[in-house]
């Protein structure tokens, strides 16, 4: 093996491992690095539906400054977003649009249900409001409050970051079959009524 500048003689690397090199190394698993970087550049999609969006804007503004977590860019395009913050009440008419935005987001993607209206319908227990956005999309973290303050939303975001980094969300998704507890069964093969006999006519 040649001598690589900056690293040293790598001829004995197969026998001694990294010990014989001139410089020190920090090793990590690729999975941990990926989770670490995912947690620290979690771009949210704008899905402000009601008054919770005001608090979401306040969280991104200077006094609370979501840029400290690397998530100051609220993406209008779902293809560039990792996290959907459903802020506000979801009406029955908005639910298919919400699901479409969620489907357009790239994997891996996460959802924070911000506020009681998005989480469970809140005080709007009526025919017009979806009673919990987790009937439509899989929700990772619920932020309570009406509306949640910026610190409540940041607590939810930090909870989500911790879960991304510990891999708990990935495990839960496998148990949950990927979302919203909606299981689509493949259509059963239709048994033909009679075997087709060729050449009988």
């Amino acid at each position: 093996m040649p001598r690589i500048p900056g690293i040293g003689d790598t001829s004995a690397i197969l026998d001694d491992g990294l010990e014989g090199l001139e410089h020190n190394f920090v090793t990590a698993r690729v999975e941990d690095l990926v989770k670490w970087s995912r947690a620290r550049s979690c771009w949210p999609a704008t899905f402000g539906l009601a008054c919770c969006a005001i608090e979401m804007m306040a969280t991104g503004a200077a006094h609370y400054d979501l840029a400290r977590y690397g998530m100051e860019v609220f993406r209008a395009s779902p293809r560039q977003a990792d996290l959907m913050i459903v802020a506000g009440r979801v009406s029955q008419k908005m639910a298919p649009i919400l699901r479409q935005i969620y489907d357009q987001m790239m994997e891996p993607k996460w959802v924070i249900s911000m506020g009681v209206c998005a989480s469970s319908g809140g005080m709007f227990n009526n025919y017009a409001i979806v009673q919990g956005v987790d009937q439509v999309v899989p929700v990772d973290v619920y932020a309570p409050g009406c509306p949640p303050g910026p610190e409540t939303l940041m607590h939810a975001i930090l909870t989500l970051h911790g879960n991304i980094q510990s891999g708990e969300l990935t495990r839960r998704r496998e148990a949950n079959a990927g979302g919203a507890a909606i299981h689509v069964e493949p259509p059963a093969p239709v048994p033909s009524a009679q075997p087709v006999e060729l050449g009988s006519r």
């Binding site: 006094h63 400054d65 989480s119 469970s120 005080m123 973290v141 607590h155 879960n163």
Partner: protein
Amino acid sequence: MGYFRGFAVTFKKMFERRVTTSYPEQKRDKPARLHGRHVLNRYEDGMEKCIGCELCAGVCPANCIYVRGADNPPDDPVSPGERYGFVYEINYLRCIHCDLCVEACPTEAITESKLFEFSFTNRSDAVYTKDELVVDASTGRPQHLPWEDWRPGEDEHTSAWMRATSPSGDATYTGRVSWSGELGHGVRAPEVGQAGGAAASDDGPDDGPDDGEGPA
């Protein structure tokens, strides 16, 4: 020179104090009447204040409170009255923190603390049972659940809203103590919101934007 004049605001702001509160390290001061997570209080002798009258559940506009009352066991009573609340649940995915339950409660059993930093990863965590809501039987402080972000000293402010508000909405009664003592606190003084209240409270309403001790 017009180029630099355009940056005048930028350069001026560069040397001002930052307004950012870096949340996980420090919290912004809360106003005296903030509505946060509820607590169920106890009297000074450790008895629960809740009598299971279900007025809070009746007044709740979001129908997030579920209460069932039962007769007190005569040999080991839970509350000093005839009845006590043996089931008390609040769904925090419905609660809008309007404090109507605190107003409706005849015994000041339910008050709101100033904790508002909590979030859940599943729905069952969000339904607080009575064991989670009631204050600790020895210290009288709220219980710290793993998904809540309590800081030292925050659990002392459990009924500030009630003590900052005039009893029955009558402004002429300001400054009078009309509430009973709490376990671990005793009979507390009125808050700064009332005339005759504490002059300088440690949790005053000073919530100005320059309050945060952000990095200079």
